[in-house]
C-alpha cells in the first residue's frame, strides 16, 4: 500500500513541479507577488512528495518487500539493515529517485533560506529548478519506475551486488549526488539572472553559500569514492581516469573555477558573463555525467542501465537544458554590464589565471573522455584514452595551477605587489626546495614527477601557513596582538587558507605514491615477508561465516624492527546468492601511511598468493580533500555570506574591523 502511495506521490510531485515552473515565472513577468510566492510553497510541496516517495521505497527495501521488482532484484533478506537501506540507490531506478530527492531538497532549501533574496530572482530561480525537477520526475515515471510490482512475489531477493555491500555505498552516492545536483541551484540562479538581464555583486553573494555546499559535498563524494575504490579493488588504485570518474571530476573543476570567479564578481563586479557561463557549465557537466553513467554509451559491454530508451531520454534532457541555457546565455549575456578592468598583478588577475588553468583542465578531461566515442562514430577506429594521456595533459595543468595557488592567495585585490608576495612566501619556497633536494639526494630511480610534486605539495601547505602568519604579524605586531587580529578575521579567509592547505596535503599524498613498496609473493605460514620497512608473517587461515557470505581470512602479524605493530586479516568473501567473490583488503594506518594486504584463494600446496604494499602518506590524499571540504564549510559559516542576513552581517564585519 505504502509503495503505491509512493508512486502516487511521485506523480503528484511531477504535477507540483510543473506548477512551480509555470506560475512563478508568469508571476515574475507580470510582477505579481502572489503568483511569485507560489514558488516557495511549490518547492516545499515537491520536496514533501518526492521525499515521501523516497521513504516509501526505502521502507520497501528495509522491510524486504520482494513483491516490488526493485527490491527483489537488488536486495536479500539476510543482508544487514544498512545495506538494505543503501541498496535503494545501488541500482538505476533508485539512484534516479535519490537524484530527484536531492534536487527537491535544494529547491526546498532556497524556499526556506531565500528570505533575503530579491523576490523576482527567487521566483525565476525556483521556476527553473522546478523545470529540472519536472524533467527528471517525468523521466522516472516514464522509463524508470522504482515502484513496479511483481506477481507472484518471489520468496527471496536476488541479493545486492556484493561489491556494493559496503559502507561506501551508504556514504558515497549521497555525498556525490548532493554535490552533483547542488550545482542545479547555481544553474537556476544563473538562468534567473539571464532572464532578468541583470546581475551584480549581490547575486554573487546569494549563490555563494549554495555553491559552497555543492562544492564541499562534491569534494567529499569524489574523495570517498576514491577511497572506496582504493580499499576494494585489491591493489590500492584510487583514480583511473575512467569516464565515470571523469564525469564527477568535470563538474568539480568547473565548480572550483566558478567558486573563484564568483569571488571576483563579489569583490570587483568583474567576470560577470564568464561567471554565468561557468555556472551553466558546472551543472551541464553534472547532467553530462548522469547521461554518461546512466545511458551506458561509454561501456557497451558492461552497461549498468542498458535500456536504450533511457539513454535517449536523458540525452534529450541533457540537450534540452544545455542548449536552452546556452541559447539564453547567447541572447541575454550581452545585456549584462561589465565591471571595471583590473591589473594583471592582483588577486583578481590571479583568479583569472586560476580560471584559465582549471577550465583548460576541464576541457581536456572532456575531450579525453569523449574522444574515443567521437572517433569511433566518425572513423570506426577504436582507441583508448587512459591515465598516461590525462596525467600528461590535465595532470600537468593542475600541477601548474597548484604551484601558482600560494601566489594568488597572497596577492592583494586591485593592485598586488609580486615582490612583496615572493618575500612573504620565501620561507615556503625554501621549504619546498629543501624537500626537493632531500628527496633527490635520498631517492634513486623511481618516477621523476614524484619528488617535484611532493615538494610542490609542501610549498603549497607552507604557503598557506605563511600567508596566515605574515598577515597576523604584519606591521611588526607582537604575538598577542597578532593572535587577537587573527581571531577577528572573517571565517571565509580561514576557509580559503584551509582549503588551499588541503590542496597541498592531497598533492603530497599523491606524490608519495611514487615512494611506496610492493611485494607480490606466495606466502607460507610462519615465513616472514618484507614490505617497505615492515615485516609481515602469515600465521593461519580462518574460515568464518558472515550474514550472507562465507569468508576465508588470513591472519597476518605486522612488525617493524622486531616490535609487533598490529595484526591484519585480509579475506576473500563468497556470496552464495550471486555466486560471486570479493576481496577484503587488510589495511593498517601507520603515521598517515598504510600497510595494505590483499589475498587470493589459497593454492593447493598450502601457499597463499598475496599482494603486500607499503603506501607512505597515502591517507593524505583523502585528508587533504577533507581539509578542502572543511575549508568550504568554514567559508559557509561566515556570517557575511549568509543569505538573508545582509544587515546583521555588515554590522558584524564592522565589529571585526574595530
Amino acid at each position: 500500500m505504502i509503495v503505491e502511495a509512493g508512486h502516487y506521490a511521485l506523480a503528484l510531485a511531477l504535477a507540483i513541479s510543473l506548477l512551480q515552473t509555470i506560475v512563478p515565472f508568469w508571476g515574475a513577468r507580470r510582477n505579481d507577488a502572489t503568483l511569485m510566492r507560489v514558488a516557495d510553497s511549490a518547492a516545499l510541496g515537491q520536496l514533501l512528495f518526492v521525499g515521501f516517495a523516497f521513504f516509501a521505497l526505502a521502507y520497501a527495501h528495509m522491510t524486504s518487500d520482494f513483491s516490488v521488482l526493485n527490491v527483489a532484484e537488488n536486495s536479500h533478506s539476510a543482508m544487514p539493515l544498512i545495506y538494505k537501506f543503501s541498496g535503494l540507490w545501488g541500482n538505476h531506478e533508485g539512484s534516479m529517485l535519490l537524484w530527484s530527492f536531492i534536487l527537491a531538497l535544494f529547491g526546498g532549501l532556497v524556499a526556506v533560506t531565500g528570505g533575503g533574496l530579491p523576490r523576482k530572482l527567487r521566483a525565476d530561480a525556483l521556476a527553473v529548478q522546478g523545470l529540472i525537477g519536472a524533467a527528471f520526475l517525468g523521466f522516472i515515471l516514464a522509463t524508470s519506475d522504482p515502484f513496479l510490482r511483481l506477481n507472484p512475489a518471489p520468496f527471496e531477493g536476488q541479493d545486492l551486488n556484493p561489491i556494493l555491500q559496503d559502507p561506501g555505498l551508504a556514504i558515497h552516492p549521497p555525498l556525490l549526488y548532493i554535490g552533483y545536483v547542488g550545482f542545479s541551484i547555481v544553474f537556476s540562479f544563473a538562468a534567473a539572472a539571464l532572464i532578468e538581464g541583470r546581475i551584480d555583486a549581490a547575486w554573487a553573494r546569494f549563490v555563494r553559500p549554495y555553491t559552497l555546499v555543492a562544492w564541499g559535498f562534491l569534494t567529499l563524494g569524489i574523495a570517498m569514492g576514491s577511497y572506496w575504490a582504493y580499499y576494494t579493488l585489491g591493489w590500492g588504485g584510487f583514480w583511473f581516469w575512467d569516464p565515470v570518474e571523469n564525469a564527477s571530476l568535470m563538474p568539480w573543476l568547473a565548480g572550483t573555477a566558478f567558486l573563484h570567479s564568483v569571488a571576483v564578481m563579489e569583490k570587483r563586479e568583474g567576470l560577470k558573463v564568464w561567471t554565468i557561463f561557468l555556472a551553466i557549465l558546472a551543472f551541464s557537466f553534472s547532467l553530462l555525467g548522469t547521461f554518461l553513467v546512466r545511458s551506458g554509451v561509454l561501456t557497451s559491454v558492461h552497461a549498468f542501465a542498458s535500456d536504450p530508451t533511457r539513454g535517449v531520454v536523458i540525452l534529450a534532457i541533457l540537450a534540452g537544458f544545455v542548449a536552452g541555457s546556452l541559447a539564453l546565455f547567447a541572447w541575454r549575456a550581452p545585456l549584462l554590464k561589465q565591471g571595471g578592468m583590473f591589473a594583471p598583478i592582483s588577486r583578481e588577475g590571479a583568479l583569472v589565471v586560476n580560471n584559465l588553468f582549471l577550465t583548460t583542465a576541464c576541457a581536456t578531461v572532456l575531450v579525453g573522455t569523449l574522444y574515443p566515442l567521437a572517433l569511433e562514430q566518425v572513423t570506426g577506429a577504436k582507441i583508448t584514452v587512459g591515465a598516461p594521456f590525462f596525467n600528461a595533459s590535465a595532470g600537468v595543468l593542475l600541477l601548474s595551477v597548484t604551484f601558482l595557488t600560494p601566489f594568488g592567495f597572497s596577492l592583494a585585490w586591485k593592485r598586488g605587489d609580486l615582490l612583496g608576495v615572493a618575500q612573504r612566501l620565501s620561507v615556503a619556497l625554501i621549504g619546498g626546495v629543501v624537500v626537493l633536494a632531500f628527496l633527490l639526494a635520498t631517492l634513486h630511480g623511481g618516477p621523476v614527477l614524484a619528488p617535484i610534486a611532493a615538494s610542490l605539495g609542501v610549498f603549497v601547505m607552507l604557503g598557506s601557513i605563511a600567508e596566515v602568519v605574515s598577515r597576523a604579524f604584519r606591521g611588526g605586531a607582537g604575538v598577542s596582538s597578532a593572535l587577537y587580529r587573527a581571531l577577528r578575521w572573517p571565517l571565509s579567509f580561514w576557509g580559503g587558507a584551509l582549503a588551499h592547505f588541503g590542496v597541498g596535503v592531497t598533492l603530497l599524498g599523491l606524490a608519495a605514491t611514487g615512494f611506496g613498496a610492493e611485494t607480490i609473493v606466495a606466502m607460507r605460514p610462519g615465513q616472514p615477508v618484507e614490505v617497505g620497512p615492515y615485516r609481515v608473517v602469515y600465521e593461519q587461515l580462518l574460515n568464518r561465516a558472515g550474514p550472507n557470505y562465507q569468508e576465508t581470512a588470513a591472519r597476518m602479524k605486522i612488525s617493524r624492527d622486531g616490535a609487533e605493530v598490529t595484526t591484519l586479516e585480509p579475506a576473500r568473501r563468497n556470496f552464495g546468492a550471486r555466486r560471486m567473490a570479493t576481496s577484503q583488503a587488510g589495511i593498517a594506518t601507520l603515521n598517515f601511511g598504510q600497510v595494505y594486504i590483499s589475498i587470493s584463494d589459497p593454492a593447493e600446496d598450502g601457499s597463499l598468493p598475496a599482494r603486500l604494499y607499503w603506501k607512505p602518506l597515502v591517507t593524505l590524499i583523502w585528508l587533504g580533500a577533507l581539509a578542502m571540504a572543511f575549508g568550504g564549510a568554514l567559508s559557509l559559516a561566515d556570517r557575511r555570506l549568509r543569505v538573508g542576513a545582509p544587515v546583521r552581517a555588515r554590522s558584524g564585519a564592522k565589529a571585526a574591523a574595530a
Partner: protein, 170 residues
C-alpha cells in the same frame, strides 16, 4: 557514481582471478620488471581504463602470460607491444599513439590554453583606459571610507596593510 563502475567490474571478477599473481611472475627479476612495465601501459580490454597489470579479469591474465612468454623468448618491449597492437589494435594502448586521427586529442590542452590566454589578452586590451584614471580616485575614496570605518574590505582583514600599500606606491 563509482558503485556502477564497481558493479561493472564485478561482472568481470565473477571468476576469481586477481591482478598479477606470484605464480605468473618470471624468475628473472629484470624480465619480470619489463613485463610489469609493459602491462602497466596496456589496457584490460574488458574493463574501464584499467591496466592489465591491475585488472582481475581473465582476459587480462591471459595477456599478462602472453607478454611474459614473449619476453622469455627474447623479444624486446617494442616487439611485444607491436604484436599486441597488431592483434588488438590501438585500443589496447592506454596512451593513444600520436596520429593524424588523434592530433586533435593531443593538441586539445595546449590549444584550449592558448585560445583562452588570447581571449583574456584581447578582453583586457579592449577595455577603455579611463577606468585606470578613475581607479586612483576610487582608491582614495575607498581609503577615506575605510578610515571612517564605513567600508570594510571583505577578505583582507588587517586595515593597517590596506593603508600602507597605496601610500608605499606614491
Amino acid at each position: 557514481m563509482r558503485p556502477l563502475r564497481l558493479a561493472l567490474l564485478a561482472l568481470v571478477i565473477a571468476a576469481p582471478a586477481l591482478a598479477v599473481q606470484p605464480s605468473e611472475m618470471l624468475k628473472d627479476p629484470a624480465q619480470e620488471a619489463r613485463a610489469r612495465e609493459l602491462s602497466a601501459q596496456l589496457r584490460c580490454l574488458v574493463c574501464q581504463n584499467e591496466s592489465i597489470d591491475d585488472s582481475d579479469a581473465d582476459l587480462a591474465k591471459d595477456i599478462r602470460l602472453l607478454i611474459r612468454e614473449r619476453i622469455t623468448k627474447g623479444e624486446s618491449n617494442a616487439e611485444v607491444r607491436d604484436f599486441l597492437v597488431s592483434r588488438y589494435g590501438d585500443f589496447i594502448l592506454l596512451k593513444p599513439p600520436f596520429k593524424l586521427s588523434t592530433a586533435l586529442l593531443w593538441f586539445s590542452a595546449p590549444l584550449t590554453f592558448l585560445l583562452g590566454g588570447l581571449a583574456i589578452w584581447f578582453a583586457s586590451r579592449r577595455r577603455p583606459a579611463p577606468t585606470a584614471a578613475l581607479s586612483e580616485k576610487e582608491e582614495r575614496l575607498l581609503l577615506m571610507l575605510q578610515e571612517a570605518g564605513a567600508v570594510v574590505p571583505p577578505t583582507s582583514p588587517p586595515p593597517a596593510s590596506r593603508r600602507r600599500s597605496p601610500s608605499s606606491r606614491r
